[in-house]
């Protein structure tokens, strides 16, 4: 399959021109709203300094109220701009690239599926997901979506209880139909200090849960990952020497360490990322010819996984 190109179709180009006008109007309103709030703040400060406190406060609060009203009024338009961009620009571009691709920005990977994947040992306390892309390359069906899963910690300070939020994953979860049948659960997690200690305990002292550490032969792979599985032989049936090399390569090409799991004939991969994809720019023009390059690049990267991991090879009983 050829790499997807970042070319924007004439129809999408027209939509972008219309959306550019909407964007400019929204930005103007945003400037107006924030301008009113900042200006009112300055008025309150200056009039207060001059001793005209009551009048300054009244005037300033009116200005702040107006600013908040303008920002509130524009939020609906902003949502509609975002929706239309995702539907008529991203959605239309993906379908034009490959008719097998579908895009639904309201959907994602459900939290129940995130937990079920066992990609991470921490259970999320806050979870959000969007931008679900579903596709099929040759024989392999796949889908992926942006996910932000967080857990919270609470600390007692002298000012009371303080809640902090920490990322479990901010990035993309990619799910594909794996080309072999299997019944157990195999998890491939990046090697961290805690994972190494837990793996040592699991191997030498006792196992946590029903999964034990799988010691594989590929040294490079072992340096990057710790593998747990409910079935030692099945883990090796899935993680062949060739697949281990491919996963190591995929890990090198990714910005951060990836995590994988193999459950119920599916393969889950978590990619931590810094960028929020498929979002419309607000303070940059939409008429940039490279507008979609980042989004198409990530789409190419995800579709490449099917080829890189050789998932279309169906020489086993699973077709």
């Amino acid at each position: 399959m050829a790499e997807f190109e970042t070319q924007i179709s004439p129809q999408v180009q027209n939509t972008l021109s219309e959306l550019e006008n909407e964007r400019k109007a929204i930005v103007d309103e945003k400037y107006k709203g924030w301008g009113a709030i900042i200006f009112s703040g300055v008025v309150i400060f200056l009039m207060g300094a001059l001793g005209v406190i009551i009048a300054g406060l009244l005037l300033g609060l009116c200005g702040i109220g107006y600013g908040i009203y303008v920002l509130y009024a524009i939020s609906e338009k902003e949502k509609s701009y975002k929706d239309r961009y995702k539907r008529d620009v991203i959605g239309a571009t993906l379908v034009a690239i490959d008719a097998n691709l579908t895009f639904d920005h309201y959907k994602g990977i459900l939290e129940s599926e995130f937990r079920y994947s066992q990609l991470f040992s921490t259970t999320p306390d806050r979870y959000s997901t969007e931008d679900l892309i579903i596709g099929k390359l040759d024989k392999t069906g796949f889908y992926f979506a942006e996910v932000h899963a967080e857990y919270k910690t609470e600390t007692q300070t002298k000012n009371g209880r303080q809640v902090s939020w920490h990322d479990i994953l901010k990035g993309i979860i990619f799910v594909a139909d794996f080309n072999k049948h299997f019944n157990g659960i195999t998890i491939v997690r990046p090697k961290s200090m805690s994972a190494s200690i837990s793996a040592w305990f699991s191997k030498n002292v006792f196992s946590f849960g029903n999964k034990s550490v799988v010691q594989l032969e590929n040294d490079t792979f072992n340096k990057d990952f710790v593998v747990y599985s409910s079935d030692q032989i099945e883990a090796r049936y899935i993680l062949t020497p060739a697949l281990m090399e491919r996963i190591t390569d995929l890990n090198k090409r990714s910005a951060y360490h990836v995590s994988l799991s193999f459950i119920a004939s599916r393969m889950y991969i978590a990619f931590p990322l810094d960028h929020n994809y498929f979002e419309p720019p607000m303070f940059k023009t939409l008429l940039n010819p490279n507008l979609l390059s980042n989004d198409i690049n990530i789409l190419n990267f995800m579709c490449d996984i099917v080829r890189e991991l050789d998932l279309n090879t169906r020489i086993w009983t699973k077709q």
Binding site: K180, Q215, I233, R236, P241, T313, I315
Partner: protein, 185 residues
């Protein structure tokens, strides 16, 4: 006195732990070998069906088919050690591989759905055996480390446990083939 007793109890607990762990590792090796045996049986069970299907189409491969059937009979016979069984399996593997190459000359057979299914199951069993062998080797390595390293070596001596040999890697394992290459070979 109390400290001495505590030290003695601690040594006893550690000793019992190590002793049990060593026996556990030895049992794991036995289990791993049994797993290979199960996979081999699964593969040998495919042969009659494979031979029957192929025989109808391949007029000129009679010798190979007879050889495969004989090898299967030998492997399934009584008094065959596990190591011998593995060696026979390798011979069967090579013979079937040769047969799969000859299939190119029989387009009707190549298109036969029963044969296609058997071919996939055969490839699957090949990878499952490879996985079971790799598992066995990993288990033996863990056991050998426990037997040869101090203080495990003391208990190993008491139990008459000796290091075991790992299975030599097969051609496929050495070449680290991709699945597609395996299929096309």
């Amino acid at each position: 006195m109390i400290i001495g007793a505590i030290i003695l109890i601690a040594i006893l607990i550690i000793g019992v732990g190590m002793y049990n762990s060593l026996i556990g590792k030895k049992n794991q090796v036995t289990n791993a070998f049994s797993a290979i045996d199960v996979m081999l049986k699964k593969r040998f069970d495919l042969i009659p069906n494979l031979v029957e299907t192929v025989k109808q189409y391949m007029q000129y491969e009679g010798d190979t088919l007879t050889k495969i059937t004989e090898l299967r009979g030998k492997a399934m016979g009584t008094g065959v050690s596990e190591v011998e069984k593995l060696a026979i399996d390798q011979q069967i593997g090579s013979a079937v591989k040769g047969l799969m190459v000859s299939v190119e000359n029989y387009p009707d057979l190549k298109a036969n759905s029963n044969f296609i299914n058997l071919q996939s199951t055969w490839t699957e069993s090949e990878e499952q055996i490879a996985a079971a062998r790799r598992n066995y080797n990993a288990t033996v390595t863990t056991y050998n480390n426990a037997v040869m390293m101090f203080p495990g070596s003391i208990f190993a001596g008491m139990l008459n446990y000796y290091p075991m040999e790992v299975l030599a890697s097969t051609e496929e394992e050495r070449k680290n083939l991709s699945a597609r290459e395996l299929f096309n070979s």
